[in-house]
């Protein structure tokens, strides 16, 4: 997928991402204007959506609102009803009770699917076809004008890094390649909403990074992305907002900016006495863990003052690391789970494959406050 790093998302010109993005945004805007009333509505809105399979309640009453143009993370432990919710949103399943709308159309509306791209969790494509043929089929199914097929397909293949394997049968593809193909399928036709159900489950770290980049491109052109994942670090890096669902209900909805705000500082010190510790205590609850002085609740702006005060008192400072609450922390707190057990549902795989807002806290042998 790295081959497509410089390319725009399908609908744009590879290698000329900025101009293409403008054009795509203009097209999306024109489409949005055409559907009067839809502009004001959320991309996704559900009210007490409930789904039962016999006696099993998969969704107990999902109420949420996904604003247009945001990358929205949909999180939850295994069996929380995430994939069921996605199927309801796409009209692949019918709710037992409740209502909702997607891009201004009621759930189950067939025509609105023209404006939606979808990568299923269980991605599988016609094994007897080549990737190029699969994409052509989806161009046809999505009712794209035939003149657009070729550039759309070429851009999608380039973007997901399958351009050099485009004419190979998909049953010869690895799982990761099939998932890349699924992503290409989801991006065809400049969809206004892209629903990605566990989009990196079969990808290596490089592939995951590329997916993050693609999601970023989608956000830049104003596309709403609904990301269903239990890879918290992935969600943390790309989402503007997340909803955490448990036992079929949204238990929390929060903006990532709120989550990643500083929650304290860890300072590696030597020569610290009780007096200096008391000094640190003026900025917030302070404690010592080995060589690390941890001050909770201190604002980012006050950190330089604290450091200067400690230095003035003769304390040697070796490292200053802001501590932040991670999504995982919040997730586990909300679900009432023991972090050590992790409820078997949290996958923090990929935490070390790049930096990011929480990357710095990995050096600190302490947990952030909850």
């Amino acid at each position: 997928m790295t081959g497509g790093a410089a390319g725009g998302i399908p609908g744009g010109e590879p290698g000329a991402a900025a101009g293409a993005t403008d054009a795509a945004v203009a097209t999306a805007a024109a489409g949005a204007t055409a559907s009067a009333g839809a502009t004001a509505s959320a991309a996704i809105e559900t009210h007490e959506l409930r789904k039962e399979f016999g006696r099993i309640v998969a969704l107990a009453g999902l109420t949420m609102r996904v604003p247009r143009g945001e990358v929205f993370g949909f999180l939850g432990p295994n069996g929380a009803g995430k994939t069921t919710a996605v199927k309801l949103l796409l009209g692949l399943s019918r709710p037992t009770t409740g209502a909702g709308s997607v891009m201004g159309a009621p759930l189950g509306d067939v025509a609105v699917r023209r404006r939606i791209g979808y990568l299923p969790e269980l991605f599988r494509y016609q094994g007897w076809m080549t990737a190029r043929e699969v994409l052509a089929l989806h161009c046809e199914l999505a009712r794209l004008p035939r003149a657009e097929w070729k550039p759309e397909i070429a851009a999608a293949l380039e973007l997901v890094g399958l351009a050099d394997r485009a004419d190979g049968r998909t049953d010869t593809y690895s799982k990761g390649m099939q998932q890349r193909l699924g992503l290409a399928v989801a991006l065809l036709g400049r969809p206004e909403l892209v629903v990605l159900d566990e989009p990196t489950s079969a990808l290596d770290p490089v592939g995951r990074q590329d997916v993050r980049r693609i999601i970023g491109s989608l956000r830049d052109r104003g596309t709403t992305v609904f990301l269903n994942s239990h890879l918290l670090t992935e969600v943390e890096r790309v989402c503007d907002r997340v909803a955490i669902v448990d036992r079929g209900r949204v238990v929390a909805e929060l903006a990532m900016s709120e989550l990643t705000r500083g929650h304290g500082v860890s300072i590696r010190v030597t020569g610290l006495t009780g007096a200096e510790r008391d000094l640190a205590g003026r900025y917030g609850p302070a404690r010592l863990d080995g060589e690390w002085l941890i001050v909770d609740g201190i604002t980012d702006a006050a950190v330089p003052d604290l450091v200067a005060a400690l230095v003035a008192k003769g304390v040697a400072i070796h490292a200053v690391v802001p501590t932040r609450q991670t999504l995982e922390d919040r997730f586990l707190a909300l679900l009432g789970a023991d972090p050590a057990e992790g409820r078997g549902a949290i996958d923090t795989e990929g935490a070390a494959d790049s930096g990011g807002p929480t990357g710095s806290s990995e050096a600190i042998p302490v947990r952030a406050p909850r």
Binding site: K87, R124, Y125, M129, L141, G182
Partner: protein, 285 residues
Amino acid sequence: MSTVGSIFIVARLTLREALRRRLLWALAGLTVLIVVLTWWGFGRVAEASPITGPTETLGISQVTVMLAFMFSFVLAMTAVFAGSPAIGPDIESGLLLAVLARPIRRSDVLLGRWLGLAIVLVAYALAAGYLELAAVVVATGYVPSDPLAAPIYLAGEALILLTLAIVLSTRIASVAGGAVAVVAYGLAWMAGVLGGVGEAFGSDVLRGAGVVARLILPSDVMWRGSAGALSPTDSVLTAGGVNAYLYRFSPFSGAAPSPEWTLWCVVWVVGMLALGILLLRSREL
């Protein structure tokens, strides 16, 4: 694009799949083989017993009907094994998820699959049927009572079984669905034989059982139409000392279906497709 447009997209996809998976080539190869064998075999029969009168004609006609029966069996199996994996495996593998997330209805998928496979089966039935009949005529000189109609009835039988298999595939695993369809086909044929016996011997119970079986699965209506079309004309039968009326009720004979039965076959196919759509719509993906 309309629903019809969506159906044609899926039908074309199904045809391409049949071509790519070499189903069409396999059927074409088998057809050539069977036609050559038919021509050779019937040539030997004609050599041993050339048609000089009604008795020989009757003999050749019986062998022809037997050949048609074997061909109808092959067609039935082809229909069942093409139709039974048409929907279910695509649901189980997740392949349909990506397709149905597009502006296309489940009914379009089912009807498109049916249409694509129906085109394959009808083309195969007509091409192979007429070629085999041509081989029989060339090798023996025997011309059945209605040679043009026989392959059409066989194609009708294949469509009925294809419909059954596809409807089953919406809810039952392909192997199980295929087995059910094959057993149902066999039972329908046997019920047709019993119904014929009931007609011949005036048994209302057997006649009624035959009618009920045909109502449930009318594949035997089409088979009997084909067998009747391949039988000699009544004048040949009478000249051969055969009661033409009773002959129609033998297991390897028959008569063209009445307009009512023909209509029922059409209604049955349409009704079953509607049932299949309902079953598919209510299935959780």
